[in-house]
């Protein structure tokens, strides 16, 4: 049984639904945006989320996690997408937590995973170097210096990079700029000499940073996984993030669909509600179909992760491509059907559209993932 939720999972979903609606409604994101909040998410609420077990959802009980698994995390992310909740779930739990879980040694796991599960540490993955997702295009270099390494390079679009207590930096210890081999992951303290963090304000009012590293010295113990072998870990971590982000986008898409449907039943023109016009009805029916298909691929991808199926890369690309595209389509259609009101900041649909674009661009958009899917399938 993979595509139907268990009772336990339904319970978790209900808890998450209630939590995000009460504690992190869209008003919360607006407030963070309008006050130009220095952190960009609510630390106190993040602590509450970890108390509920959301932060440790993928972390084993040994480290204080709840070990609810990928399907559980997907349900939480989906609900977070419905209220555009700003939290370090993606940066800290999906990306860095997974990386440490997969590649960390005993000391690293003990230190980092328990801190994440407790909600006490925010982490960020410094990977991208250009405007398009490309996990092998890494020019940042780490050169051996005795038993230590010295890292130099420029990273961009580092999610939660400006508030992270600890960074995971992908740097090249060998090979050329586009090689798969020669990439190494390093744990880096952002307060180290030579690290410069510049917050970037993104259209979705979430948090990201440009990070430059200038001859930053890290000890050998900072290596996460094996030297030169980082791509294997990265790809697994990215697939988890792609699937998790797709779950978030599913929630986002469903919310825009629901609010648009409600608006069509209430807004009147020509003496009748505009939802009575077939030109709008058919577009909503098509969107309904696309969302049903989207839900199926997200559930399948989450259960692929949970069951450690060997087609995870394939379903991750299928899911991220579909949800990126449908999130774009749904927010465009939702805005259009809200008419002039959809263009105002007062209405939420614009916020959803902005978030949809950033989520679509994160870890590969539809173009990236269709190309990857075809390559994985051998054509």
């Amino acid at each position: 049984m993979a595509l139907v939720l268990t009772e336990e999972q339904q319970l978790l979903r209900d808890t998450a639904t209630q939590f995000f609606q009460e504690r992190l409604p869209i008003a919360n994101l607006r407030k963070l945006r309008d006050t130009k909040d220095a952190i960009g998410f609510d630390r106190a609420v993040w602590k509450e989320m970890s108390d509920l077990g959301f932060a440790g959802i993928m972390i084993s009980e040994k480290y204080g996690g709840t070990d609810f698994g990928p399907v559980g995390l997907g349900l939480v992310l989906e609900q977070s997408g419905r209220t555009l909740a700003a939290s370090p779930l993606v940066s800290t739990v999906l990306l860095c937590g997974s990386a440490v879980q997969l590649a960390g040694n005993a000391t690293q796991r003990q230190d980092i995973l328990s801190a994440i599960a407790a909600g006490e540490r925010v982490m960020a993955l410094a990977l991208e170097e250009g405007p398009h997702h490309n996990p092998t295009r890494i020019a940042t270099r780490a050169t051996a210096d005795g038993s230590a390494f010295r890292i130099s390079g420029k990273k961009t679009f580092v999610l939660d990079g400006h508030v992270a207590d600890q960074l995971i930096v992908a740097a090249r210890t060998g090979g050329n700029d586009n090689d798969r081999a020669g990439i190494t992951l390093f744990l880096v303290d952002p307060k180290s000499d030579g690290v410069k963090v510049t917050r970037t304000l993104m259209v979705d009012s979430r948090n990201a940073a440009d990070i430059s590293l200038d001859n930053v010295s890290v000890p050998a113990t900072a290596v996460l996984g094996s030297v030169d072998g980082g791509i294997d870990v990265l790809e697994q971590v990215l697939d988890i993030a792609r699937i998790g982000l797709s779950a978030e986008m599913l929630g986002l898409v469903q919310e825009v669909f629901d609010t648009t449907l409600a608006y069509l039943k209430e807004r009147k023109q020509f003496g009748k509600v505009i939802g009575s016009f077939q030109a709008l009805q058919h577009r909503m029916a098509v969107l309904f179909a696309e969302i049903e298909l989207s839900r199926s691929v997200v559930l399948d991808a989450l259960s692929a992760l949970e069951a450690r199926r060997n087609d995870v890369p394939l379903v991750a690309s299928l899911t991220k491509a579909r949800l990126s595209d449908i999130a774009t389509l749904m927010t465009n259609e939702g805005l259009q059907m809200h008419g002039g009101m959809g263009m105002t900041d007062q209405f939420d649909v614009g916020l959803f559209m902005k978030r949809a674009r950033v989520a679509a661009a994160s870890f590969g958009d539809g173009n990236f993932h269709r190309d990857r899917y075809a390559s994985l399938e051998g054509y």
């Binding site: 058919h282 029916a285 309904f288 049903e292 298909l293």
Partner: protein, 413 residues
């Protein structure tokens, strides 16, 4: 959605051991009784066994296979035994279907009687009618056709006008049907007729009659694909015995709708890509490598490669949704809202698949007949043309979208 098993009076629980025993027995029986040629792929449409008074078998083993399966009631495995069916539980039927697939057995019988009429008779017909018609359907003795659409009643099916008058000891039918699949080859018709002109939905009745009755005439229609599977069917003073009415007078619309559900389910399966010719081409990506060329293991055209991927991804997403719906039904959550999109999405997907095959194969998919094209290539051309009807028959895509808008989304008129 009602499947035949749900209307079976006695629901059987089958224990795991009993099921395993059933599997062993079934496997042994099939081993002994499924003729070798019936385990090979069909080579043309003509190999399909439709049964009927004028049944055609391209191979004597096809008849043997039908007779053996029918004797056990396995052409309609879940129908009650008293009507000639197999009397199998849902679980036993799953095992049977698995075992049939395992040996790649051809369908012993393809039949509108089994797919569409039978389930409706089991639910709505009286005892006498069930005893009369169901066993003949199981054995493939009578081939049925469906008299639904009329020249003036397509998407608006309930606007049908074929007149049925009560003449005391019989009904008198006058009118015309269209798009009657294989009416020229069928023995009997199940037909929607107007018994009360003063009402719309509540003036329709469900009638069965023999196609050899005087006054019945079927004329095949030439289609764009070159085939003629559909007919115009004319009724001129056709006398029908009164006990051929199924259900109550003027209550035929309920039966009609249930039947349409079965029909739509049948058609939506097409989106899964298994139906239609071109299967000999080895999938879209292989066809693209063969007909367009490859560079470094990739389809030579990046644009075509992207289109293929979109198609494959949507096909996969659709298949997963059908699977999810089945799992939800199994988990007792009832047919989810998702089922309402299957007919629409499946047929649109199938049409897109053929358009893509045309792009992939270029002029090789634009041959009509004769030299210069393989059977698979001609098959693609003809199936491409045939696929256009998928989103028209059994409720157009537009009607399906209306249904979703109104019944699922609750949008007003």
């Amino acid at each position: 959605m009602l499947s035949p098993i749900e209307i079976e009076p006695l629901k059987k629980e089958t224990s795991m051991e009993a099921l395993e025993k059933f599997r062993q027995e079934t496997r042994a029986w099939l081993e002994e009784n499924c003729p070798p040629s019936m385990r090979t792929p069909m080579t043309s449409e003509d190999d399909t066994v439709w049964g009927g008074r004028n049944a055609k078998f391209t191979n004597p083993e096809a008849k043997l296979w039908l007779d053996r399966m029918a004797e056990r009631g396995w052409t309609a495995p879940t129908w009650p035994k008293e009507y000639g069916g197999g009397g199998l539980s849902k679980e036993e039927n799953q095992v049977l279907q698995q075992e049939l697939r395992r040996i790649k057995a051809r369908p012993a019988l393809s039949s509108f009687g089994i797919w569409m009429l039978g389930p409706a008779l089991l639910e709505f017909a009286n005892e006498e009618q069930k005893k009369e018609h169901l066993p003949k359907i199981v054995r493939g003795e009578i081939r049925w056709c469906q008299g639904y659409s009329e020249p003036g009643a397509g998407s608006d099916l309930a606007g049908l006008m074929t007149k049925c008058e009560d003449k005391g000891d019989h009904y008198l039918v006058n009118g015309q049907k269209i798009w009657t699949s294989y009416a020229d080859k069928a023995d009997w018709i199940f037909c929607l007729v107007r018994t009360d002109p003063s009402k719309k939905h509540d003036g329709i009745s469900f009638l069965l009659f023999d196609m050899t009755t005087p006054g019945v005439e079927a004329r095949p229609i030439s289609m764009i694909s070159g085939a003629s599977p559909f007919c115009e069917t004319f009724f001129t003073d056709v006398k029908v015995p009164k006990n051929n009415l199924v259900g109550e007078l003027n209550k035929g619309w309920t039966i009609a709708k249930r039947l349409l559900q079965h029909e739509r389910e049948m058609i939506s399966g097409m989106g899964l890509g298994g139906v239609g010719s071109g299967s000999g081409l080895g999938g879209l990506e292989q066809a693209a490598k063969d007909y367009y060329g490859e560079v470094g293991g990739r389809v030579a055209s990046p644009s075509l490669r992207d289109h293929i991927t979109r198609q494959k991804m949507d096909g996969k997403a659709f298949a997963l949704t059908m699977q999810r719906s089945a799992e939800e039904a199994k988990a007792g959550q009832g047919p989810g809202a998702a089922t309402s999109i299957f007919k629409y999405y499946g047929t649109e997907l199938n049409k897109r698949r053929f358009e893509l095959l045309l792009e992939i194969m270029g002029t090789k998919a634009l041959g009509w007949e004769g030299e210069g094209f393989s059977g698979d290539e001609i098959g693609v051309t003809r199936s491409w043309l045939r696929s256009k009807g998928n989103s028209i028959e059994g409720g157009t895509s537009e009607v399906q979208l209306n249904v979703v808008s109104k019944r699922v989304l609750g949008l007003p008129d």
